[in-house]
Each structure stands twice: as structure tokens, then as C-alpha cells.
């Protein structure tokens, strides 16, 4: 029973330890999901309700009939659902941080980013569930993506990667906000314009010119376009590059910000 030697304490955590600690924290996140499956309510119910609702409400008006609307709307709903699910990541992080166990995480000699990264990595499971369900409901309703299985999988992965990157924004809100409700509030305020002022539900050329200008620079429009081209036509377009570049930039900005605020907040 000897204690740790005093002269062998390294000053910082190595990159491999950081990764393994983040994965351990992600494993904790998955255990929690297994214990409280009701956390998955939003990612299971929303894809089903939204797909049915939007297809039958707007299908006739936009594409003549619901069937023709599916290739347009399924990618739109997919992106909206998964991105909305990434907001919940921030909200749950806030709730989690208020618990005593986060005090222990802070007092452990682990990478400061691990508790945050772990929570965000674990939530990709939520995005995966949302993606699978949206595709499945679309398929049941008669959507037959012409791009083939490979491109559909690729499209799903693209959305999940982008949602992970975007979730750092909400993690940042989660860290700086006082309560979980305020995280929800701020995040929704950002999310609604982003998802609805996009090409998700209607063709852009039906909108007034000034709105088109915004819709066309909206990064989510690029992501939705990329998903449509991949799934419906098997095309790899520049929209993929734009989406991924946006994702990387977001992450480079918000991940360090979130970690810094997390470290400062006690």
C-alpha cells in the first residue's frame, strides 16, 4: 500500500490519455442512456411525427403530391431533427454539470476536455438513432433514394459529423448558462431561424430575393443540399466540402471556448 511517488507527477495529460479519458466519459454517457431510456424520447418520436406531418401537410402544395415531396423533405427533416437533438446535448450537459459527480471529475488528474468531449461523443448515438428512424419512416412512406445504400449511409454520416461539430456551440451555452432551461431557450432562438430559413421544406426559388440571399449562405442549406445530392442522386458535390469545412471551423472555435469556460466555472 504505497502512495504515489511525489516526484513522478507529469505536468499535463498526453494526447492518447486525453482520447481514452474522453472515450471512458462517453461510455459513462452510454450507461446513463441505458439507465434512463426516456432521454431518447426526442430522437425517436420527432423523426416519426415530423416526417409524417410535413410530408402530408406540405407535400401537395410544394410537389403536387406527398410522394414526390419525399426526396425533398426527408433530407430536410433529417438535418433538422439531428441538429435539434444536438441542442439537447447542451441542455443535458448543464443538468449533468450541476450534479456532484462533476466536482469529482474536476478534481481528477484528467484532461479538462474529457468530460465535455465524452458527453458529446456519447450523444452521437442519439443522432444515429434519429438518422436511422428518419430514413426508415421515409422508406416506409415510399421514399426510394436513387443514390443507393452506400450514398445514403454516407449522407447519414455527414449529418452526424456535422451535428457533433455543432453540438459544441450548445455545449458552450450549456457551460456558460445558469440553468438548463435557459440553454434550451437560447439554443432554440438560434436553431429556429437556421432550420426554417433554409432549403429544408420548400424550393428556395419560391422565396423573396432578400430571403434567398440568407437561405443560400445558411450553412444548413449546404448540408441539406449535400444530403439530397448524395441520397437521391449519388452525387458528391462541393456542398459536402462546404458543410465539413463549416463543421471544422465551428468546432475549432467553440470547443476551446467551451473547455475554457468549463475550467473557469466552478
Amino acid at each position: 500500500m504505497s502512495n504515489r511517488a511525489l516526484d513522478t507527477v507529469p505536468a499535463r495529460v498526453s494526447a492518447t490519455s486525453t482520447l481514452s479519458q474522453s472515450l471512458t466519459m462517453a461510455y459513462r454517457g452510454l450507461l446513463k442512456v441505458r439507465r434512463t431510456p426516456e432521454q431518447l424520447f426526442d430522437v425517436t418520436v420527432q423523426p416519426i411525427i415530423f416526417t409524417l406531418m410535413f410530408t402530408y401537410i406540405f407535400g401537395g402544395a410544394v410537389s403536387g403530391n406527398p410522394q414526390n415531396y419525399l426526396p425533398l423533405v426527408i433530407p430536410g427533416i433529417l438535418v433538422q431533427t439531428v441538429i435539434t437533438a444536438s441542442v439537447v446535448t447542451g441542455v443535458q450537459l448543464r443538468e449533468d454539470m450541476d450534479k456532484g459527480v462533476f466536482d469529482r471529475f474536476r478534481s481528477l488528474p484528467i484532461a479538462r476536455i474529457a468530460p465535455l468531449a465524452g458527453a458529446l461523443i456519447a450523444d452521437t448515438v442519439r443522432y444515429l438513432i434519429a438518422t436511422l428512424l428518419t430514413f426508415a419512416v421515409g422508406f416506409i412512406m415510399g421514399w426510394r433514394p436513387q443514390g443507393g445504400a452506400f450514398h445514403v449511409v454516407l449522407a447519414g454520416l455527414l449529418v452526424i459529423v456535422c451535428a457533433f461539430a455543432l453540438s459544441w456551440i450548445f455545449a458552450f451555452f450549456g457551460v456558460i448558462a445558469r440553468t438548463a432551461t435557459s440553454v434550451q431557450g437560447i439554443s432554440m432562438l438560434i436553431l429556429f431561424p437556421l432550420t426554417f430559413l433554409s432549403n429544408a421544406y420548400v424550393p428556395v426559388n419560391t422565396m423573396p430575393k432578400w430571403l434567398q440571399a440568407f437561405v443560400n449562405i445558411n450553412p444548413l442549406s449546404h448540408l441539406i443540399a449535400a444530403v439530397r445530392d448524395l441520397a437521391n442522386r449519388g452525387l458528391v458535390t462541393s456542398d459536402i466540402a462546404i458543410s465539413l469545412a463549416g463543421a471544422v471551423i465551428l468546432m475549432l472555435v467553440f470547443a476551446p471556448l467551451a473547455v475554457r469556460m468549463y475550467m473557469r466555472k466552478v
Binding site: 500500500m1 504505497s2 502512495n3 504515489r4 511525489l6 516526484d7 513522478t8 507527477v9 507529469p10 505536468a11 499535463r12 495529460v13 490519455s17 481514452s20 479519458q21 471512458t24 466519459m25 461510455y27 459513462r28 450507461l31 446513463k32 439507465r35 434512463t36 450534479k99 456532484g100 459527480v101 462533476f102 466536482d103 469529482r104 471529475f105 474536476r106 478534481s107 481528477l108 488528474p109 484528467i110 474529457a114 473557469r264 466552478v266
Partner: protein, 343 residues
Amino acid sequence: MQTLTQAARSQTTAAQGAPLAIEAHQLVKLFGRHRAVDGVDLQVRAGTVYGLLGPNGAGKTTTVRMLATLLRPDGGQARIFGYDVVKEAQRVRQLIGVTGQYASVDETLTAMENLMLFGRLLGLSRRDARQTAERLLEQFGLTEAKNRPLRHFSGGMRRRLDLAASLIARPPLIFLDEPTTGLDPRTRAQMWDTIRDLVREGTTVLLTTQYLDEADQLAERIAVIDRGRVIAEGTPDELKSSVGQSSLHLTFQNPADVPRAREIVEAALGAQATPSPEGRRLIAPVSDTSRLPDVLVALKAAGIEISELGVQKPTLDEVFLTLTGHNAEPTTEGEDADVQPRA
């Protein structure tokens, strides 16, 4: 080669006796305008139990949180085994374990999963993490409950698991923030045994408590903290003798008698008596119990009627009354403390 410098440094300290596990100089923490910790100095030798004694709101937890790198000090410095808690926080975290007032374990996970999680985070292999977890669960009598989620745990079980989690890495210094507050007497005694075992293995323990008897039982040295300041420091014996071995509690029929009774008591005992806030009681330290009859005789002679009488061993309350002139009550914000100079 900072590691070498550090090793050299702790060796030099060792030459002057046991090295210092904790060294705090003029620590300050402000919450708004409230000085929660107001210039605390501490020196804790390695391998000892050090008690931080004080009422709720005295600044004990805030002090511990600063020493444990959980809170950034607004002033002063602190070193843990020679490492600065702000500049070398990552190093400090490798040398400490923290067990808070509330359980810092994951409610949704089982006891086993909790210990496995912390073990894995601390770099143990899956197998080592499992073995360590099994051993600690056994040691803390939690083996039977290991696969139950913590929601179903009692307060005492949670505390024990919490302490077990702090011991995974066998840190040389452990902070125990009120480890027995709210525990039943049996669980409290178990906790005390565990703490004694730790010290036998060479671990340094910083213990905060509201109970003098707890500090008395466990700590080799005690700092009494009040309104963010250390108002007395010494061995339990030194502290107790500063307040008298026991104290005389007198309650009077007529509050108007109190000032006169005070003079009589002070004359008979040769010590200062303190009236209680509600004005019907007097408390006086008793260093020599053979003088007690004199007090009663003198009071009777003066025609002062006593409704209640008792001789008590020193409680935290008396330590406080004697040291500060006020009761051990939670500090109210912004109030200026009439603190006496350090004993």
C-alpha cells in the same frame, strides 16, 4: 526538468522534519463583496490528520475547494507537496483525493460502475480497475450492493462509496469535507475507523468538521476557523485548555440577576463568564471543579435563584464563545467580525 526541482524541494523540506503536505498563505476568496475566506494560513505536515473546525458558513468548504483546485483563490498562495494549486493544478490533482459534503458520485450508475469509471479515468487497465473496485467495495462493506444504482443507496453508503472513489489512485493527501455530517452514530464510528486506517498507511488527511469531538478523536492539530479566518490553531489539548476543561452552565429564574451573578461567578472561578444571547444563562469555563461549590454557595448567599445548572465538557460552542465572543452560528453576509487576534 521541473520534476527534479520539485523532488529536490520536497527533500529540503523533509530535512526540517516531515515535509509539508499543505502550505497555505493568506488565502482569500470573495463571493461578491462577501469575504468567504479572508486570509487563511495553514501548514499541514505530511502523514498527519489536520482538522479544520468551524460552524456552517465559516469558510471551511471554500478553503478546501481552493486547496483541491476546484476554486481559484482571489488572493494568497497555496502549495500541495510543493506544487502551486493554481499554476500546477494538474500536478496537484494527481496527489489529492476529495470527498465532499454531498456525494460526488454518479447517481444513475451502480457502485461498481462508478468505481470502474473513476479507475479507468485514472489510467488503470480494465482488469486493474475492476480489481481495485472489488477491493474497495469489500473494504467499505459495499460488495453486496455493488450492482445496485446509487439512487437506492442510504446516505452512509453513498459517503462510503464516495470515500472509496477518492482512494482509487491512493493519493498521498485526502480532503474530507464534513465526512460524517448527517450520519448515524454507528456509520460515523465506521468512518472514523476508515480515516484512522488511512493515516496508518501514511496518507495525510485534511478533515473539516463542525464537531469538536470529531476533530478531537481524529486530528493531531486543529485550526478553528470563523468568518473566513483562522482564529486559533494547535493540538486538541491546547485548544481545550484554552477554553477550560469543562464549562459551567447556569440558568437563572430572573434575567435581571445575570449581571450580578456574572460578577460572583467570575470572582469564584477566576475566569471570564459569558452571558448567553437570550440573557437568562451564563457560561463560564471551569479549570478546577473543586471550586464549583463556592460558586453555588456565593450565589445562594446573594439570593440569586438558579433554575438550571450543568457542567459540560467543552463543545464547539464554548470554543467559539471563548475565542470569538460570539456563538457558533452561520455567518451572516457582510457582517463585520469582531474577531480576536490569533491565539
